[in-house]
Amino acid sequence: MKVEQLSPGGALIRKRVDVAAIFAEHHVGLVRLALVMVGDQATAEDVVQEAFTRTHAGRGRLRDPDKALTYVRSAVFNGCRSVMRRRATVFRRAVPYEPPVWSAESAALLSEERREVLRALRELPGRQREALTLRYYLDLSDQEIAETMGISGSTARSTIARGLAALGRALGEDS
């Protein structure tokens, strides 16, 4: 197929990042990320869908292609935070919500050892939990974690270190 040469204006439009395409490409990955954050697939899918709907309207605004995935992850991440906050409010006085992935019912999915780690992770303060998830689930660098969470690189580093230490204590590790 013959492709016409685009004018400078057209090239700019091309260069703008299509957030919708990024969502489509990383859909499963984003749901996985949301799942380890919120604990169940249905909510995780909702979070990703919501983030998609919200960022979709502004897709023309994003001009830096290198930042696109970070931007999309942040959107999903913020969605997860809202879910956690909502749950915290709703369940403050009621029984604690136990999402399936680390609950007893999911014994068929995950071994007791894994669930123990996830439960301990869930007990950590929000930021530490988030930073550890980005580091040890997505294997992001300090800088990428910082950008996704909207904090500085050194804060990201120290948050991870503190989170790891707290996790070790919770799981009775002597180190």
Binding site: S7, G9, L33, V36, S111, R114, L164
Partner: protein, 353 residues
């Protein structure tokens, strides 16, 4: 140099993430907003000349949208209701009527809410039969329309009379989200805006291809994997050239039935748009002059065959799309008085994009 803690954490997270069942993963739904925005501006530019901005907004923006037409002055004409609350019927869009037709309980709740509404003076129920009788009278000479609509297509409604000075939008804002309410319109205001002579003011807008057009009529070629939510183009359309524009103007003037034409530049279109939407700051600010299309505005002789002229216009080179102003107003009136959604006007529907 990973510590055992890190390894455990990494493995646990990986396993948790892997439990996502990709076979049940729901596909992402697009809100479709960007596409609507493009169509919307084209149409809005078409409406800006014939209609005042508030009325245009009511035509173009679906019920339930926060940017619904703002209401300026309390209506004066006693002949029309200040507001019509249409109940969910057979043809109501599923977006506003997810539960289908209105139930008796919902109707009761709506009556209660109306009685308690601030500024509401009188509430009158119009059944399907009554609506249909009036519909037949109003459109007695439009056999095509009468043939497509029967009595069960028209939703029942409540016609509201407000106390003098009450703002219908304020009074009825709560009603919009009630179950069983399909649409709310403001007939008195609409009639006041349009004037009795609206049919004579209707024109035809011929929009011209601009830079980077994504319309097939301008030569844009969509990529095979293009979807409405993520449009991609192999090739964008080309703007009309000055020579083409001159030729087009001449050609349009020669079409039988065309009474007069005038050219509306980007600058004029932009000024009209800004005037029409001065109350909607967000929309006005988001719209740049380069977003506006150039157009020819045509007056047709009332006895001319509008459909034939419009079909011919659509086939001319450099024409992006053609909007029939008469249809827009007709559809608006149908919705305002009878609660039938705009897409019902057959053959008259403005072609999107």
């Amino acid at each position: 140099m990973n510590s055992p803690m890190e390894d455990r954490l990494r493995e646990a997270l990986a396993e948790a993430g892997a439990t996502v069942d990709t076979s049940t993963l729901r596909p992402l739904q697009s809100s479709g907003r960007p596409r609507v925005r493009v169509d919307f501006r084209l149409l809005a530019a078409a409406g800006a000349v014939v209609l005042a901005g508030t009325v245009t907004a009511a035509v173009l923006i679906a019920p339930g949208d926060e940017r619904r037409a703002a209401v300026a002055n309390p209506p004066v004409d006693q002949k029309y209701a200040d507001a019509s609350v249409f109940l969910c019927g057979k043809l109501s869009p599923s977006r506003t009527c997810p539960g289908g037709s209105v139930t008796a309980e919902q109707t009761k709740a709506i009556v209660r809410a109306l009685r308690e509404g601030p500024g509401v003076e009188q509430v009158l129920y119009v059944s399907q039969d009554q609506a249909y009788a009036s519909f037949r009278r109003d459109y007695a000479d439009d056999k095509a329309l009468l043939g497509t609509i029967d009595v069960t297509d028209l939703p029942p409604s409540f016609q509201i009379k407000l106390k003098p000075g009450a703002d219908p939008k304020v009074s009825l804002v709560r009603m919009k989200s009630m179950e069983g309410v399909g649409d709310i319109t403001f007939p008195a205001e609409a009639v006041k805006e349009m004037g009795p002579e609206w049919e004579k003011n209707a024109d035809v807008s011929v929009f011209l291809c601009g830079e980077q057009s994504s319309l097939a009529s301008c030569g844009a070629v969509a990529a095979p994997d293009s979807t409405s939510s993520a449009p991609r183009f192999v090739k964008y359309g080309k703007a009309i050239t000055p020579a083409q524009r001159r030729a087009l103007g001449k050609e349009i003037g020669a079409i039988p039935g065309v009474q007069s034409t005038h050219f509306e530049s980007q600058q004029q279109a932009y000024e009209n748009f800004q005037r029409s939407y001065k109350d909607n700051k967000a929309l006005a600010q988001a719209t740049k002059k380069s977003d506006m299309p150039e157009s020819f505005r045509l007056e047709l002789r009332p006895d001319a065959d509008w459909d034939k002229v419009i079909t011919k216009l659509k086939g001319l080179p450099g024409v992006a799309t053609v909007v029939n102003g008469k249809c827009m107003i007709e559809q608006f009136m149908l919705r305002t008085h009878y609660g039938i959604s705009a897409s019902m006007g057959k053959g008259c529907a403005p072609q999107p994009g």
